[in-house]
Symmetry: none
């Protein structure tokens, strides 16, 4: 982990009193479920917009800043830092999303729009996915998007990673490449870190000086603490560069920012955008022309720089026009220079570059999705992906089986059968059966050991009806149901009944099936007698007769084996069907009765049901 610390030390240059408040490096956990706080650096500066309760300074002596590597006075930044959790779920939240999308996020938390963020976070937060995790930057003021920061951060990580050759030693860390989904549709490439790491090895990038781009950035006064209050255009930095004189810096910059943050292609850099992958394509074109003139001037510099350039090539794709003429020593018949005859070959060349890039990006994206990565070469990426897909398929199947069993058990004990089985046609066409059992829970009580059997073909009957012994007392009362119509839409329903398992749930379902929403329920019990008072409301425009409601509920309470009257077949058939298709293939054997239309099957029911949790 010392490489992380080193990176953090490098990143320390961008935290400070006039810069970012803190910088945190998060790492996805091995199981991909949480991301963990790994390291941080703290500015040690006072935070301006701290609208807290004013007691922070009291705690200066109480807690130690998480940034232990750098001794500094405890400030609000330290406090904010301490508020960050040690880990957070990967699947939810902006952190995980950022890591998944592999797109840097620039979050401006103002008072207006950050309802879901606590006001302590007022300010600007930059989440920058890097190859092995996520870098979080925060400053308590509003800062406009600054892609040079992104470039810097990503570059620091890629450089450090390269120098430590972590890619070859630690698969676990290297495997957590971030994900690029947005780049799938368009031909854009996002995983520039991998690209950078790849391109480092390119030998043709002859004009890269051996100093690190970060150094260049700082030398060029592009240090990230240039973040100021003026909202810089993201491409502003580009104008700082002299293309003809410092190609490496330019290439570095382009490499770092070529992946547009938030995909803002509307920069004035080049108006001739293509629909697809146009951004780097245009840069390609721009550089192409640039290189062509440069090659005339600097082609002779190739040889002396050739040795040094090996580790510094930041973006060979952008600069290989240079290498075009750089390795032209042999003859001019070389097809690379044939572009002088025209552009057909050159077009093809560029298109091929684009294609390769796209393929690489997707390959890396794919790799980023696979948790276990054995090796980093292409073949292994594919192999791991294949295995992972198989594994995932297996898991899905297992889980479906398990779920089915679970539901079956539930049905058996539940004697209550509102189960919605629905086909979900997912985006990729894989049919997926999900079963939402919605009568569950809460309402089924425990020990009813599989006392059900199928009689006839759709009748589920209970064999030992006395579960709690209440009905043995000879009560055997006739249920009483009263329905009072308050107005056209509301009813008071009183049900006085003998307690039977599942009776309450059946009542709820009956209401549901009658198009009635339960807004209030009162449950009173004495011995085995139960009084339920419901206040129900008609959900929709269908007319519901009060006596119809009463009849239905009476039938329900009288006859525990049935569902509500007119839909009893559904219920019992359900019970039967569940046991029937226990281990069948998922995608087949869909029971048609499960697709019967039942008005809004679960929403209102669940509303009340959830309240009872």
């Amino acid at each position: 982990m010392e490489v992380i610390q080193e990176m953090m030390e490098r990143l320390r240059s961008i935290v400070g009193p006039e810069s970012w408040d803190y910088c945190v490096f998060w790492k996805p956990c091995k199981d991909q479920r949480v991301i963990e706080w790994v390291d941080c650096c703290c500015s040690g500066s006072n935070v301006r917009h701290m609208n807290g309760n004013g007691g922070e300074h009291d705690q200066q002596l109480l807690f130690q800043c998480k940034d232990v590597a750098f001794h500094h006075p405890t400030t609000d930044a330290c406090h904010l830092l301490s508020l960050l959790p040690p880990s957070m779920p990967f699947d939810s939240g902006i952190y995980g999303q950022t890591m998944i999308s592999n797109q840097p996020r620039w979050l401006n938390f103002s008072n207006s729009s950050d309802s879901n963020f606590c006001e302590e976070n007022l300010g600007t937060k930059a989440l920058i996915p890097v190859s092995i995790g996520l870098v979080e930057l925060f400053v308590s003021k509003q800062i406009a998007e600054d892609q040079s920061i992104v470039a810097f951060v990503t570059d620091v990580f890629s450089k450090s990673l390269e120098q430590h050759s972590m890619l070859n030693t630690s698969n676990n860390v290297a495997s957590s490449f971030s994900v690029n989904m947005d780049g799938l549709e368009d031909g854009e490439s996002k995983d520039y870190i991998a690209q950078v790491l790849d391109d480092h090895k390119d030998p043709c990038n002859n004009f890269q000086p051996p100093i690190s781009p970060a150094t260049i950035l700082e030398n060029l006064n592009l240090s990230p603490h240039n973040i100021s209050d003026n909202h810089m255009h993201p491409m502003n930095f580009l104008q700082h560069f002299n293309y003809g004189e410092n190609r490496s810096a330019k290439n570095m910059f382009l490499e770092g920012t070529r992946e547009p943050m938030m995909m803002n292609h509307d920069d004035p850099f080049d108006p001739s955008l293509e629909d697809n992958g146009g951004f780097d394509h245009e840069i390609d074109m721009a550089l192409q022309g640039q290189m062509m003139s440069d090659s005339n001037n600097k082609g002779h510099l190739m040889d002396p720089l050739e040795n040094n350039s090996k580790k510094q090539g930041n973006d060979v794709n952008r600069s290989d026009s240079v290498s075009d003429c750089s390795d032209q020593n042999d003859d001019d018949d070389d097809p690379k220079c044939r572009r002088r005859n025209g552009k057909p070959q050159s077009k093809n060349l560029i298109a091929e570059r684009r294609r390769r890039k796209k393929l690489n990006d997707r390959l890396y994206t794919l790799r980023s999705l696979v948790p276990k990565i054995t090796k980093l070469d292409r073949a292994s990426i594919l192999k791991d992906a294949i295995e992972y897909v198989m594994e995932l398929k297996r898991q899905v199947e297992d889980l479906q089986n398990e779920l089915e069993e679970n539901s079956d058990d539930e049905d058996t004990t539940n004697n209550e059968s509102t189960i919605v089985e629905q086909e979900v046609m997912h985006g990729n066409g894989s049919k997926q059966k999900r079963r939402y059992s919605q009568g569950h829970g809460m309402f089924m009580n425990g020990p009813q050991p599989e006392a059900y059997s199928v009689i006839g073909n759709n009748e589920v009957t209970k064999h030992n009806p006395d579960v709690d012994g209440a009905s043995e007392k000879g009560q055997q009362m006739e249920p009483q149901v009263e329905v009072a119509s308050l107005d056209g839409n509301e009813f008071f329903v009183k049900v006085f009944r003998e307690h039977k398992p599942g009776g309450f749930v059946r009542l709820m379902e009956a209401f549901n099936s009658l198009g009635l929403e339960v807004t209030n329920v009162n449950v009173t019990s004495f011995r085995c007698l139960v009084l339920n008072v419901f206040k129900v409301e008609r959900k929709d425009s269908e007319m519901v007769q009060a006596d119809h409601v009463r009849e239905s509920l009476l039938e329900i309470t009288r006859n525990p084996s049935k569902g509500w009257p007119e839909t009893s077949t559904k219920a019992s058939e359900n019970g039967h069907g569940m046991m029937d298709h226990h281990h069948h293939n998922h995608n087949h054997h869909h029971h048609s009765h499960l697709h019967n239309n039942q008005p809004k099957p679960q929403y209102h029911f669940n509303a009340m049901y959830q309240v009872l949790n």
Copy 2:
């Protein structure tokens, strides 16, 4: 499907009285779950080793052979054919495995070793994966591995597919490339069909005559009904070829057999085997020398054959040594001919070919795993794979959540809180957490994905309490609890709270742990706010202070991660004890605090709880 029939007609040449008994083409179903019987051809011959019950001939008039295209007397082969199921599961069995592995299998069923196969299958079965399915050959005698059969079958299919250009018209069929898992570990390439199909397009394969290799095979008396009783060495066919005169046949053969069946590298063809992918490498090498001499003789033939060779190139990889000198018109500085200077370049070339092949194979294998294939190009393969992986991940997560929810709901009803969380280490090392809630937790309900962690050693705590979004509405209300003491034994308790999953249950538990019996409960909800009015009664003689009750409930509602203050052990024990006899068998990780003894722990609690069923 007429292309299938055509292929089957071609394959008919290898079934017959002295050859294979039958040939069946299986096709994977679209959902990748089963493989289906598609077509067959039957030898119509009597099977020799039929050790059946002797009644087969009685059925000659009863059933029609599945091979309806060819009128023939019903024989044992027809009978065997009829015994094949119309479909079989893809995931299990040798058929699916073969299709997955994309390795031809040669199964010799003798009396000794085929315990898992019925004795009717005594004989030899060859399973040959082809691009769009699997070809099964069977003969009721022991036949040694014959790779020419494999070559023939695969070639028939690739040829027919190519001629019908199925790859471009029917994505579904073409997408069902078989899977090569075994080839993942070694650097070998198995999906030679794709390779063949690819190589067909290669223009450099100049020496391929326009006749199909199958024709060549037959002309050379290499028809697969050469299978005889003598155990031929798989390489015997090779000796029939005259390398210098009929390269195409040789190449075809090598193409078909280059992927070693069963990876038997121990043939005497070339002892200099490499560890990995050495087989085709060695063939490469062998052909290399062959081609080099040939190129001197036949280099001039290149031009006239160039047009015809495009569709006939069976293995350009093997013959491109020819093409090396075939396109040497321009200059001898061409690096392909630089191998005359030595073999470093040639080695690289071959290795590169191998690498490409491996990559392609895996790419196709990956594609074969993805159900929805948009396009057939590489980028789309990757894109589809990426989307599919994401989809699968999502599915797995959903299913797990659902399962958890299911269990939790069950728990809610069951009032027992033994949660078993176990790490399942799957095959590929991806850790998968599954939670088997078996007694079920009362205390955790609703969708709370992975929000639990063990504190201390037996306390289950919830980390992110607001999951269902109820608390995101900005309500964040402080719960209000009022306790009114009616007389010495009865209380009215009003709890106005924000709905949180499990809140109601916790309240019930709190009452229980306080020694209070709930005799009446009213639940009213509006939006995410819940009003509970309880009428509770003191169960026993212990004195309960009203403010104590209030404090406890406040704490409960305020802090959903906690149990009730001082009596958490009691209540949770209740939950456990109630279901104790129910699912006794699978409670492993009972938390120790659940086993405390408490006098009459649950009866009153259960009364109210059961009423809600």
